[in-house]
Symmetry: C2
Subunit: 158 residues, 2 copies
Amino acid sequence: EDVVVSGVALDKNQTRIVVSDLPDRPGTAAKLFQSIAKADVSVDMIVQNIGRKGLANMTFTVARDDTFRAEQAVANFFGDGEKGAAHFSADDIAKVSIVGVGMRTHTGVAAKLFESLASAGINIQLISTSEIKISVAIAPDDAEEAVRVIHKAFALED
Amino acid sequence: EDVVVSGVALDKNQTRIVVSDLPDRPGTAAKLFQSIAKADVSVDMIVQNIGRKGLANMTFTVARDDTFRAEQAVANFFGDGEKGAAHFSADDIAKVSIVGVGMRTHTGVAAKLFESLASAGINIQLISTSEIKISVAIAPDDAEEAVRVIHKAFALED
Ligand SMILES: C[C@@H](O)[C@H](N)C(=O)O
Ligand SMILES: C[C@@H](O)[C@H](N)C(=O)O
């Protein structure tokens, strides 16, 4: 399958909310997202990596205007006794994605994306992929530069 | 946007490779994926969550048959001096995804998916999302039960 990276998408208007040291057992993610859904907060990215020592971190991103409501939903989740060692924090991010067919079978595309960001000294905070898309979260100040170097790396129209 | 969860996809044949305690600075992801691309290993999911204390964990999944080659690619990456405190491990997983339009704006869909897995006592190891898909990694032994409870939760045809 030939890879055609057809474009770069940028959303500078997101906030990432990291809920750390959650009990890594069935039901935790369900309770957290029940609380977020009850608050009627739309979530964009949801990222969870493998836990360690029985604890896991979950990160989700929301539109910046929804940050306060999302934080309240997380606080309500804690109020229900789920706490343990868990804590949460919120920070502004920009989400940059490359879109195209055949992404999945081409590790070279991921390497090229990461190289272009590294060349500009841009640190990757979050990574999430699907068959047609690779998304990364970076600092909002790096957004324009990221789009510029990715356009260049994949020879996309400006 | 109405949500239409149109189906459940299952891939029981994956391995997750976790590379832990990587230096969380520009260039690390590029070097790791250059090594994986050089070994011509196709990667499915790539998941990275926010780092802590300057270290980050990156997880990627490959077809089970590619495990050995992927592990060698990671070992080569370490050989280049990138190591630090980093280490890696590999485990079999099953990847279960729900697919449909409008997923992103409906946190309730994510909550329902997580609830259905929790009801079956299935622990979620990894989560990765896109506009049209939510994917989770679970233990391979839980795969059939996961598909069953998700079908039921979203009233999908068997
Ligand atoms: C951390 C969270 O995902 C947990 N493993 C669960 O299944 O709910
Ligand atoms: C951990 C890795 O993603 C690192 N932050 C980088 O930008 O390469």
